[in-house]
Subunit: 237 residues, 2 copies
């Protein structure tokens, strides 16, 4: 039996899921900037810098989810995926994930305007977040779904962050941390559905490899975003 | 005063609305194929041909609305626009506008499969509908909204169509006409919001001209679609 060919057999659903979850070593929970954040080594201006820059990514999220909807031909899947837009945008003024992040911004001492007008956003953050949006617009929708699977790794990071803020950044009002609290519950439900879709559509080994590649790409986006934040935060002691 | 420059003054909101509504002479309610339909001159296979081909356009609609969402930076506008996706896709299996159109297909004697697999869709219909989707993906979202304003003209066409089907195509079960009935009520609400958005964002004369151009483009899409249907329906006596 040709081993080269043999390695191209599709992974079993369990092995494929394991391979996807195995990408956690590329996830940004171990980025030096996050380590510094969670060990309490960030200054107040550095926390603000992170919050303002990360908002640029946050406001991309509903647009990338709409791009996935726009490329997805199945109404039954769209009906589930559309809930992500409601989660981010809310159903009324003052609700939703974007608004929660703006509350966080206020809690760390930023004005809404200086977040919304993007004055603090550095080019590397913009390029990384924009690359994600472009990916979801131009690649098959199933790869956009696969890229979303970083959510598999999010709840642990959110729990760690909440503990770190309570311990090291007590000057941030706890009500400002609602976004992280919400994601602990939202992310598992969203990623469970996304995983099901990816397993349903990625059936050949080539398709599974592409899905893994999409998830790696997304890890690169998140990592690169923090690289740009870390680099520009050094001047903000 | 330079008359050339003078003509480039922005239109008043009322004059702009009048100019938009004035594009009705380009709307497809007066296309020869619609005239033939409403005068009862279509054969059963021709009605089926229209229903099957028009479904290709219908299934583009939620994708183009998601593209507008993906390009729109304002959560407050997205919160309203997202309702269009719910209208087309429904909130459960067997609901929504796409499903209503499939009921119509069954009422005129088509199987769901032969509509969903697009076997009857002619190239001209595909190209016109795809052009609309590409427009909403690549042009500013405000022009996608302007293009949707053909809905200003839809209710009259829907009423005329319902009457024509009752009179000339009594072989089509009336329950199959629910889509047209629903649009009489949905279209005015949707177009009122779209008109408000267009008036808010198209403030210079150049922007107003572009909005008018987007609406003309959309009229061309609908017209071209019927041209392709009419041309290929001639063999179906």
């Amino acid at each position: 039996m040709d081993t080269l060919l043999a390695t191209r057999e599709p992974l079993t659903p369990a092995a494929f899921e394991e391979a996807l979850r195995g990408q956690v070593h590329r996830y940004h929970h171990i980025h030096p900037f996050h380590l510094a954040m969670h060990e309490g080594r960030l200054s107040r201006p550095q926390v603000q810098h992170w919050v303002a820059n990360r908002y640029y990514y946050q406001q991309i999220v509903p647009k990338k989810d709409a791009a996935i909807l726009s490329n997805c031909p199945d109404p039954a899947i769209r009906r589930v995926w559309i809930e992500r837009l409601h989660t981010q945008d809310g159903t009324a003024d003052g609700q939703g994930g974007l608004e929660s992040w703006l509350h966080l911004a206020e809690a760390v001492g930023l004005a809404r305007e200086e977040v919304l007008d993007e004055r603090h956003v550095v080019p590397g953050v913009r390029f990384a977040a924009d690359a994600y949006l472009t990916f979801t617009r131009t690649q098959p929708w199933t790869l956009g779904v696969a890229a979303s699977l970083t959510e598999l790794f999010a709840p642990d990071l959110m729990r760690e962050r909440l503990a770190a803020f309570a311990q090291h950044y007590a000057w941030v009002d706890a009500t400002g941390l609602a976004y992280f609290q919400a994601r602990i519950h939202e992310a598992p439900e969203e990623s469970a559905f996304a995983l099901k879709v990816v397993q349903q559509y990625a059936v050949t080994r080539q398709q599974q490899d592409r899905a893994l590649g999409a998830l790696r790409f997304k890890c690169d986006v998140l990592w690169s975003l923090l690289d740009a934040i870390e680099h520009t935060a050094q001047a903000l002691r």
